[in-house]
Amino acid sequence: MSGIQFKNVTKLYQQGENQVLALDDVSLTVEQGEFIAVIGPSGSGKSTFLATAGALLQPSKGEVIVNSKNLNELRSKDLVRLRLEEIGFILQTSNLVPYLNVLEQLLVVKRMAGKLLKQDEEYAKELLQSLGLAAKLEKLPEQLSGGERQRTAIARAFINNPSIILADEPTASLDSKRAHEVVQLIAKETKTRNKAAIMVTHDERMLEYCDKVYRMEDGRLKHYDFQS
């Protein structure tokens, strides 16, 4: 099945003499078209959770399944491929390549996969247009506002048409108007393009756009009922 599944995932860190339990028996399913949020205080294991979902960390125990592929069984080369083709990362702001313009930020991802085709460029322009960046194609990150940078990052995450979207604090360093816009956009793109999306955030104002919300505390993931 497509989407992303955590089956009894545990992650232990060795820190000197102590073992730190970053993820404690986490189970979760996110299906296509679903947008979920994970909240929690810092140090709760949110980032570990996202890195594990994004094939950047191997779990100590349990299985992570992305589009029916068990990540434990993939070689590191295949994991790179999977990140490129099936996962779209939206990272914190200013994580764009400083010397590439908006259009090139997207094209470089295409180049990682191989040759750049004419239709790729067309698709990139369409995508940027739908995110309201049509007038900014030639701009470098330093010439963009925080919101525009984050929209570029969203476009970059969608360029390979991945089935999974992972967002790491996408609203950090944005004012609340921009923050709402950005999360609304992620929600809209997730629905219209039928993606499975996970957003890690500590910004509770953003939860109204999500289908489900989980709260992470000391490595444990719990369903969270929020009243909007």
Partner: protein, 373 residues
Amino acid sequence: MFLAIRELKHGKLRFLMIGVITVLIAWLVFILSGLGNGLSTLSAATFKNMDADYVTFEEGARSSMSRSLLSESLVEELESQPSVSAASAMGATMGTVINNSDSNKSEKVDIALLGINPGSFLEPKVIEGKPLQTNEPLEVIANDTLKKKGFKIGDTLQIEGSLEKIKIVGFVKNETYNHLPAIFTTLDEWRSIQFSAPGSDKGIEKPVNAIMLQGEKIDSEEINQLFNNTETVTKATAIQGMPGYKEENGTIMMMLAFLLAISAFVLGVFFYVLTLQKSNQFGILKAIGASNRFLGRAIVSQVFLLSSISIVLGILLTYGTALILPNEMPFSLDLKLVVLYALLLLGISVLSSLVSVRKITKIDPLQAIGRME
């Protein structure tokens, strides 16, 4: 290339700085190689040009003409060896000549007087005038650099310390010996100048300094055993035995080696620092799916591009420098050497960037995600 070119354009100043350093290094490398080539030509052009494979010296001469004295009668014996296809003797003397035909008669000129058999494989082709004749012992052929000193065909020269007067009948090109322009004469004439003092020939009949051998399959050990009191070496060894040759070449080679090593470290360190600076950026690119290969290629192609442009500029500057260098400077650029050093420099800079590539493979994409707990 995509990332490489974009970044070069974006960071013009920093890449300009490293580019200028590379240009200067390349410039110096090419100038040194031109100087080395010029010096070694001046020192041993005659030996380099001669169509011989081995040289027989007197035992103990350590491949030096000036320390060696043999009898010309050995030539026939050497030639009778099956591996030797031809043999011919040579004698060398350093001397000073005065041009008697020059009206102002003021300038004395240092020359190398080389005795050879007319018509042998040791006689260089004349580019002007006529070659040596056995029955005209006073006719000589001279290197064409002497023309700049006012020497012409038909001039008679007085050799200092000798009563002999010789006449230039032809000019040859690129024949210098022991840093001096060469004048070729017959062996008999050379002997009458070199051994004019009684007893200076040490009682050797028809003395010569060395015998050059043709024959690619010559076994020098075998010749050494067959002929007492001789030592046969390859032409390359004989060139090394030219006075000052090893020392001059060694000095220049050492400078070149140091320069190349320095350029490797300068470029390597520069790109390594740049890579460290960008490690967060590379981490992000790796997180979104860039392979080590993709990022490594970006670095290597950047170094390749920058070095290529710098080296080409260095070559242009070197040829420009060659135009304004004084004529007396022993500077000669050999296209083959220029290409060789250009490729060597390029290879070294690309190799030095591999340190950065290794760093890239070690960057953890995890650092792109938030603050890791």
